[in-house]
Amino acid sequence: MNNPDFSLYLITALLPLSAFLLVIQVNPFHALVIRGILGAIATLVYAILGAGDVALTEALMGTLLAITLYVIAVRSSLVMKLGVLETDFQKETQASISTEEKEKKDLFLLIISNFKKIIRKYYLRLELLSYKDINNLEKALQEKEVHGICFPINNNIKNNENLDNKNLYETIFRIERLYEIISQENSNVETNLSYVNIKQNKEEN
């Protein structure tokens, strides 16, 4: 410990340690936060080795700017966009305020919470987009605005109030991988829910 270089070696050894922690992370957001630790320690090592300009660049550009940009990129790419009808969408926004008991009664809220539970394992986020009617919903799927759509099967929406509990929902996915993920873990989902996988061979002009 009397060696003056001893603490220098100790500080330099922190760099591969934090790099190892970064590599073993699975969740992309956790990895980005650990990247902040790596950046701070890299700055320390550069500074005590005498490279003040390199340390400053690592702290400002390498750590701050890169992490913030990557968080925004991950946030906008790891998302599953699900198109729903306007009436269902309102139910969902109201349910987030009220208690979870309502969730058990309503099939749509149950389906949505199930989807969230399944895709959370893949670090995905569910984003609901509301559309006026089924025609708009299918048009959005054709034009690739959404990854999937979820709607009640009986087209007559006026009857919904009478048949509230017997309502059937259909979910159509445009992305094959999303369909695989949801259908593999289908065991917990309510039985009156069906999935249809449509492959689009539409030529892009």
């Binding site: 500080i11 922190l14 956790h30 936060v33 650990i34 005590i48 340390a55 702290a59 400002l60």
Partner: protein, 84 residues
């Protein structure tokens, strides 16, 4: 003085361990903020030991700008976690 430096490095290991073990993203953010402050203080301490003002300025800038940047990062992460 070398002993003090070694003790400071060992204290730096505590938030690293916490950031590795804890699954909650906010605990990880806390660990990052803690580490960034500790490294800045360490840089200041070494700069005073060596009487090197260039390194001291780097430490001061990291101490001030670094934590402000983590505020920005926390705002983005907050939006992601509240939507789920």
């Amino acid at each position: 003085m070398n002993i003090i430096l070694v003790i400071m490095i060992l204290t730096l290991l505590i938030p690293i361990y916490q950031g590795w073990k804890d699954e909650d993203i906010w605990q990880k953010m806390l660990a990052v903020a803690s580490i960034s402050s500790k490294t800045a203080i360490l840089i200041l301490f070494i700069s005073v030991l060596r009487d090197d003002w260039m390194i001291a300025i780097v430490g001061v800038i990291i101490l001030t700008v670094g934590n402000a940047g983590f505020m920005l990062l926390a705002q983005v992460i907050k939006r992601v976690t509240t939507e789920n």
